[in-house]
Symmetry: C2
Subunit: 175 residues, 2 copies
DNA sequence: CATTTTGTTCAATATTTTTTGAACTTTGCG
DNA sequence: CGCAAAGTTCAAAAAATATTGAACAAAATG
C-alpha cells in the first residue's frame, strides 16, 4: 500500500469544511465550485475537479473522498460525470488496483465535453418540442395558423443561429 | 374595466395545470420552460415569457396570473427579472392603470440582457476569486509558487479567452 | 384626501436537487 | 474458489431553491 498521497506543502488541519487542504487548494476548489454553479452542476463536481486541478499528481477516489470530506456516493457520481464529459482521465498505476484521476486542462476539450453531455441533449429536446409545436399549429384554422406560424418561425431562426454558433465558438477556443 | 383579454381561439378548460391556454400556448410555454431550465432560471420565468411570446397583444400582470395560475409574488418577481434583462418591455395603454408587457423577440438583445444580468456578475466574482488566489500563491515559498503558478496561469488564459468570446458571439447574433 | 387599484416584499411553505451511506456488484489476487 | 479491496446504486435525509400569500407601499381616481 504505497499510495502516500501527493504531498504538496503544509496542510490546514482545522475543523473547517476543507480540512486537509492547503490555502491554495481551498481557493482553487472554491473557484471551481462557483464555476460549477455557474454552469448548473452540483457543487461536488466542482470540488472534485478543483482538487484534481490543484493536485500535482493524479488522485484515487478514496483520496478525493478523504481530502474533500464527501461521501462515496457523491465522489463516485461526480467522477462519473466528469469522466463522461472527458473533464478527467483515468491514469493507471502499476501495482495499484485503484483508478487514478487527472484533470483535462484544455479549455476546448472541456467545453466540447460539456456541450456534448449537458447542452446537446437539451437542444435535441428543444428541437423535438418545436416539431410538436409545428404539428399543432399546422392543424389550426388558417387564421390562427398565420399568427402562430410567425412566432414559430422566430424560434426556428433562433435555433438555427444557435446551431451555427456552437461549432464556431469551439473553433475559437482551439488556438 | 375593458380589459377583455387578447382573444385567440378556443381555450382548454380542463383541470390541468395550464387551464385556460390553447394547445399552442401550452406548447410554447412548455418550450420556454425547458429553455429557462437550461439556462438556470425558475420555471415561472419561462412560463411568463412563453405566455407573452405566444400572445397576440401585450398582457397585464393580472392576466398573466389568471392564465398561468401562478401567484402574485411569482409573477411580480418573474416580470421584474425579465424587465431587468430587457427580455420584456412595458407598453402603455390609454385609460388603463396597469402595465402591459410584450416580449423582446430579438435573439441578440435577449442574449445580451441575459449575459449582462446573469453571467456578467458571476464572471466578475470569478475574477475576484482569481485575484485572491494569486495573492495567496504570491505569498508561498518559491518552490510551491512555481507549481501553483502554472495552474493559475492556465485559468487566466481561460478567463481571457472567455472574455474575448462573448462580444464575438454577440456580434454573431447581430445579423 | 380617502379609497381603490396595482404592484412589491419577504417570511413561511412547498418543491426540487443534492448528498449520504448502507447494501450490492465487480474485480483482482493468492 | 474465497476473500478483500474498489467502485456503483439508490432510497432516504439534508440542503438549496422556488413559490405562495398576506401585509405593505405607491399611485391614480373621484
Amino acid at each position: 500500500m504505497a499510495q502516500s498521497a501527493a504531498g504538496n506543502g503544509k496542510r490546514i488541519r482545522n475543523g473547517g469544511s476543507h480540512s486537509g487542504l492547503s490555502p491554495v487548494e481551498v481557493a482553487l476548489v472554491e473557484y471551481f465550485v462557483s464555476l460549477a454553479d455557474l454552469v448548473g452542476m452540483p457543487k461536488s463536481v466542482g470540488e472534485i475537479y478543483g482538487l484534481l486541478f490543484s493536485a500535482e499528481a493524479p488522485l484515487a477516489m478514496d483520496e478525493i473522498i478523504a481530502r474533500l470530506g464527501l461521501s462515496k456516493g457523491s465522489a463516485s457520481q461526480g467522477l462519473r460525470f466528469l469522466r463522461d464529459c472527458q473533464a478527467v482521465r483515468t491514469v493507471y498505476r502499476a501495482g495499484d488496483r485503484r483508478d487514478f484521476y487527472e484533470p483535462e486542462l484544455g479549455l476546448r476539450n472541456l467545453a466540447a465535453g460539456f456541450l456534448r453531455e449537458k447542452i446537446g441533449p437539451r437542444l435535441d429536446e428543444g428541437a423535438r418540442k418545436l416539431a410538436r409545436l409545428e404539428k399543432i399549429v399546422a392543424g389550426e384554422t388558417p387564421n390562427l395558423r398565420k399568427i402562430h406560424g410567425n412566432r414559430i418561425d422566430r424560434i426556428r431562426t433562433w435555433q438555427k443561429t444557435g446551431q451555427r454558433i456552437i461549432p464556431f465558438a469551439l473553433k475559437f477556443l482551439k488556438g
